[in-house]
């Protein structure tokens, strides 16, 4: 074929890569300079996650399982950060665990970024604790079902969990008020549902954040076994926007302050709590490019078919 169609037919895929790079980099630069984000309309699944944390009585102990690694941190770290932030704002206690070897470091980063930076009044061992990574996948889940401290005998820094005030009322995983799980693959949300939530007879509420490719696998469990679901960076952005809207509402300032948090309600949210919303800009650029590429690919295909028919005729 000649002309533009000919160029498209023989297009080196590196041009596609370059187009994708520009489609992603452009919004990053624009949003970085203007400091604006796109508006988000939360879906029911994201609202359910927000409500699940919000509706817990203050001081509830929440189990946060960060089952991801740096490879998927781009999609999942904002979810983990938002979950930790909302728990701290609501005055809940947080117990962090991970079933992925590199998950312990992801927890450390979140604690440093959120709790130590913005909630310095919270004490390690009393208000939050990092129990780190535990090997064993489903075996760990089976053990925590009946004896949580046996599965995690020490914290990541080596302190005995038997002596920790935060775990004083926790015998088994069902004693937690909520399981908030951030999942990149195996072991992840599906295994938590199969081995823990189902085995607890629905007594342990669970909310989950997962990567985009995993979301279709987890929709069958929503809203039954999984009360709320954050799917991909979109879900993270919706959840983030819900928390930011709640923080910015002056009507909630007194409630937040009563937990001891000093978030300084103002019109400006720190950039670290806008990461997911910022990443929706590149997502928009990438998705629009994909639509254009699919259309162009089909134009080429139809032109090829027509020329083949002409040649056959």
């Amino acid at each position: 074929m000649q002309g533009v169609l000919g160029i498209l037919e023989r297009l080196d895929r590196r041009w596609v890569f370059l187009a994708m790079a520009l489609a992603v980099a452009g919004p990053i630069l624009v949003m970085g300079i203007t400091r604006k984000t796109l508006p988000e309309t939360p879906t029911d699944a994201s609202r359910a996650v927000f409500q699940a944390v919000q509706s817990l009585p203050r001081g509830s102990t929440v189990l946060l399982s960060f089952d991801f690694d740096p490879g998927s941190a781009g999609e999942l770290e904002p979810m983990g950060v938002s979950m930790a932030r909302q728990c701290a704002l609501c005055g809940h206690k947080m117990v962090f665990i991970s079933l992925w070897p590199l998950g312990g470091q992801m927890i450390d980063q979140t604690i440093k970024k959120v709790l130590r930076a913005d909630f310095p009044h919270l004490q390690d061992g009393v208000d939050y604790v990092n129990l780190g990574f535990q090997a064993g996948n489903e075996q760990v889940m089976r053990v925590v079902l009946t004896d949580f401290k046996r599965a995690f005998p020490t914290t990541k820094s080596g302190r005995a969990t038997a002596d920790l005030p935060i775990l004083s009322g926790i015998q088994r995983v069902g004693d937690f008020a909520l399981l908030a799980e951030v999942s990149a693959g195996y072991p992840g949300s599906k295994e938590w549902v199969q081995y823990v939530v189902s085995a607890s007879g629905g007594k342990l509420p669970m909310v989950s954040g997962c990567t985009g490719v995993q979301t279709p696998q987890l929709y069958p469990y929503f809203p039954g076994q999984i009360r709320g679901l954050l799917g991909a960076i979109k879900g993270a952005a919706e959840y983030e926007s819900l928390i930011n809207a709640w923080v910015l509402d002056p009507a909630n300032a007194a409630e937040i302050a009563s937990t001891g948090a000093d978030v300084g309600v103002s019109a400006v949210i720190p950039p670290k709590y806008l990461e997911a919303q910022r990443r929706m800009g590149p997502q928009l650029g990438a998705h629009l490019l994909m639509v254009v590429l699919i259309l162009l690919g089909n134009v080429v295909y139809l032109a090829q078919r027509r020329s083949q028919r002409r040649a056959a005729a």
């Binding site: 895929r13 490879g71 089976r142 079902l145 004896d147 490719v213 995993q214």
Partner: protein, 325 residues
Amino acid sequence: MVRGRSITSDAARRVLLLLAVCAAAGFHDTPASAHLQEIAAAVSAEDAAAAGATTAGLFTPGKLPLAVAIIVTSGCIIAWMLQARAGAAMYLRRIPALDAVTNAVGRSTEMGRPVLFIAGIQDMDNIQTVAGITVLSHVAKTTAEYDATIEVPTSRSLVMEAAREAVRGSYQAAGRFDAYNADAIRYITDEQFGFVASVSGQMVREKPAACFYMGCFFAESLILAETGNSIGAIQIAGTAESSQLPFFVAACDYTLIGEEFMAASAYLSGAPDQIGSLKGQDAAKVIVATLILLGVVLATIAALNVPQSEAVSRVLESVKGALGS
């Protein structure tokens, strides 16, 4: 030059087996085993208490529905296996992806380029990896017969050992043990993206003519498939990870979807009892589909405002309760 299993590898394998046996025996005596047994005993005691069992050590009543499901499914599979052994004719539809294996290996031989086989990135405790290794043994037999070379990079050490055994056996069965090269089956790394980076680089440098992706894959599936596409290889994939199937379907020439991948070994062997097991699996699927339809009809009646709705609702709730416990 005869290339076979090295003496060092043989000795290491025997040491490994001995250590495993010692570990199994030693678990009865070490403090670690006592700790583990305590944990497991606590788990079983709690399970029994939670399920309302009156006597510890007997069957857990709460798991009865699951046990019935397993017995029915296994019964179907075994019954059809026995029928097939007795000589009953069994029709099996063609699976194009598996019919293409021979063509793919033949293409590699003609082009003088290797065959690349990846058995997933999980360990031997994952059934998909085991299924991948069974397919590997069939593919390796074909490569031995066609005098092609096969490369099997693995992401787990145990998978490397199992793959070596499978390929070695296949070459032996094909009478081409002299062509077996243990170093062609090698361990790369457990790290997901480190593995795919290494394999992608290998694909771009060595340009295999045929790529087989058979096992459990995650995010690296598209990277592998696109790289294979860029070098012009014929690609045949199979996985039971439903999240990765779209990527393989889009980028590979043939894809085995879920249970097709599980059936691959039976299909390739052609043995009657293995084919019979596939028929038994289909029978179990018919039972499941019937139960789903029944559930849908009952749930619809329960949702409608008709006189029987309440009674049907009660039946449904009691079934849900029995299955959920």
